[in-house]
């Protein structure tokens, strides 16, 4: 059988999925949990608790701070000790709520039973109710980007959704949290997909899974054999297939227009399998998003594994639970090695988008000295957006913002394929990050001016 994949660029990255067959266990509840108010794209959440308040597991801590925003719920029970700031994975100090943990008391309206609730048994659920539940539960994209999920389900009037694509690709090396979730909670994910399809009023669902997860493909094919609306799409292994735009191309052979184009412009709504699971729990079990599957991994980590982690748990506790940091200098990454963010402190808490804590040793993480560009064109060949990374990097260094915009620097998805592949070890993406930020700022202020 010919496997599908995306049609522009891409690289092959060594997998190191060392935790793939380790069953998920619950991580210990931390002594203190920290909840940054910006765990999603959009406006920060607004606190509704104050110092000294008692909270339970599932209590609302902060409400959505705007149209594009998401509420945040407590993952622990205890006392709010302060509303201050914390360093998050981005390396910046952000407002956050601190809670001292006392016991483990849950809100009463959360259904903690394991019984499977299907949509067939609950025909009364309306699309509006599902969207509202997702919104109230604070669900954001669980793959890392963190875009509020309910917004994707209500497309702008100019676009019409035709299908939901579930992202079970997990193309980053090391990470296995989505894979474990698929193996352990396939039924819940499928019901989540059902709910998403009902909410978006579409009749077609796809699940894209890369060929390196044959067990997951077989499991889902078996479970959906009777359901003609849902199609499992095995994909050839290629990075960055888990990127939203690449996945749409791979699964339904359509390409999303350049920014501000979004997948629904070509009829697709892409959601992570983790998001589908969270949707199931939110709608059927009334459980807000406060815990998630996270992989703690690294070649030198003593006891790597997959964990059900309460959000707000500091990285340090998770790493110590897995045997501590390996000897010597390490790079600790929130996410995978291709797109994850290297943290500056182990106090950074697990957030909604933290699919992995990846520990790279100095040896693996150290960059080689850059050499002159030999103009081999390999960065152009691998760019999944069809850009010219060498050019964008140079334009950024020289501050040629207008030209950089004309060369579509804002289309860059920061996948890092260019820098990964560069034989001269040039910091291509570093420079593109710089230029992209600057150009986005220029576009924003220009739009503002035009609006006035």
């Amino acid at each position: 059988m010919k496997l599908h994949t995306f049609r522009v660029g891409g690289v092959h990255v060594k997998e190191y999925k060392i935790t793939a067959e380790i069953a998920t266990t619950s991580a210990p509840i931390p002594k203190q949990a920290v909840f940054p108010l910006s765990q999603h794209i959009g406006a920060p959440a607004k606190p509704v608790v104050k110092k000294g308040d008692k909270v339970k597991v599932g209590t609302l801590l902060a409400e959505a701070g705007g149209i594009v925003s998401a509420p945040i719920h407590s993952s622990v029970s205890g006392t709010v000790t302060k509303i201050g700031t914390t360093i998050d994975a981005s390396g910046y100090r952000k407002p956050a709520i601190y809670i001292n943990v006392e016991g483990d008391e849950w809100e009463d309206d959360i259904d903690r039973s394991q019984t499977l609730e299907t949509l067939v048994n609950h025909p009364e659920l309306t699309p509006e109710y599902i969207v509202e539940s997702i919104k109230k539960a604070g669900i954001t994209g669980m793959g890392g980007a963190g875009f509020p999920t309910f917004i994707k389900l209500v497309p702008p009037p100019t676009a019409k959704a035709e299908c939901i694509i579930l992202n079970g690709v997990e193309c980053e090396p090391y990470i296995t949290s989505d894979y474990r979730l698929m193996m352990e909670h396939a039924d819940e994910i499928l019901i989540g997909l059902d709910l998403l399809m009902k909410a978006a009023k579409v009749e077609k669902g796809y699940i894209g899974i890369e060929e390196n997860k044959p067990k997951a493909i077989a499991l889902f094919e078996e479970k959906t054999a009777m359901d003609s609306r849902i199609q499992i799409v095995p994909l050839a292994k290629k990075y960055p297939q888990g990127g939203e735009k690449q996945l749409v191309d791979a699964v339904i052979r359509r390409q999303v227009p350049a920014p501000p184009g979004i997948p629904v412009n070509v009829g697709a709504i892409v959601q992570n399998v983790g998001t589908a699971f969270a949707v199931y729990e939110a709608v059927m079990k009334n459980k807000p998003l406060f815990e998630r599957y996270t992989t703690v991994t690294g070649k030198k980590v003593a006891h790597p594994g997959n964990f059900l982690v309460r959000m707000g748990t500091p990285f340090a506790e998770m790493i110590n639970f897995c045997g501590g940091l390996p000897k010597g200098d390490n790079k600790v990454i929130a996410g995978g090695p291709m797109m994850g963010k290297a943290v500056v402190s182990l106090d950074v808490p697990v957030c909604k988008g933290t699919n992995s804590i990846t520990v790279l040793t100095d040896e693996d993480a150290r960059r080689k000295a850059p050499q002159p560009c030999i103009r081999c064109g390999k960065c152009v060949e691998v760019c999944p957006m069809g850009l010219e990374p060498y050019l964008l990097a140079t334009l950024s260094v020289f501050g040629e913002w207008e030209r950089a915009e004309a060369e579509k620097i804002t289309s860059c998805v920061s996948c890092g394929s260019c820098q990964f592949t560069c034989p001269a070890h040039r910091p291509i993406l570093d420079n593109i990050f710089l230029g992209k930020d600057k150009v986005m700022g220029i576009i924003k202020s220009r739009n503002k001016k035009n609006d006035e």
């Binding site: 350049a258 290297a342 790279l360 080689k368 050499q371 002159p372 050019l391 034989p423 070890h425």
Partner: protein, 332 residues
Amino acid sequence: MNKLIVSLSPHVHGNDSVERNMHGVIIALLPALLISFFYFGLGAVVVCLSSVAACMFFEWSISKYILHRQPTLSDGSAIITGLLLGMNLPSNLPVWMVIIGALVAIGIGKMTFGGLGCNPFNPALVGRCFLLVSFPAPMTSWPIEYQLTSYIDATTGATPLSFMKTAIKTGDVSVLKKIPDSIDLLLGNLSGNLGAGTIGEICALALILGLIYMLWKRIITWHIPFSIIFTVLIFSGLLHFANPVYANPIQVILSGGLMLGAIFMATDYVTSPMTHRGQLIYGVSIGILTVVIRNWGSYPEGMSFAILIMNAFTPLINHYVKPKRYGEVLKK
């Protein structure tokens, strides 16, 4: 206290390196180099060795004493320039001319522009063309094969390319009969006291082996070599069928420096376009120019000039020819 290392993503690298690519090109050149020792003996060894040694020396000394930077001989690019320059010369060229060629190739062709990655023209071809216009007679006298122990004193003869040119000029088709058949051209086995051309171009088969190796190791893509070879094949094929004074297209692509140029010279990273579309335009243009110069120019061989001309157009091609952007591909 152990430290945390912090940088932007990506945090891993594919372990490709400039050295790996350059060394791969050297390995790919080996079959053609070794077979040339078999056909030309002493002369090929002397010319190639002196060319490589001189290129490495000039690269090292110019880096160190004029540019005042750490010499980077280990990246292998000077060795490639040396090998390619040597393989583009006749096997009876005096050593002092080879050294001048190397000085022009590395000094003027490469280091004046800032070294590796900055030169607009292929350095080896700059050196070769400098020698060609400076010393036209020794640069166009071609030794006959199998004179393994002779060097400057080697007996020379006319090349297949010069017969092709004569046929066009005189309109005498019978001249073309003196050209060996395709199998002999492919192997480089020229009988009948024919001059064999430059050291590196003699055996098309060995060059094709090098091409297969580079494609397999993903050092280059098919776009440039295939577009050149097919363009020449089609263009000279059309001419051949229109008028038989133009040689058989198979013989055209197997003789002269076409294979060497298409596989090793035109594919030079630094001086060829960055995008696949651009590379196709570049390759087709080189093919057309080569046929035009070979048939109607004053030199019997046009590959070097065609590549240098298109080197000059490379920045323009890079400016106007963009890769296929994501989103441009139509719905299907």
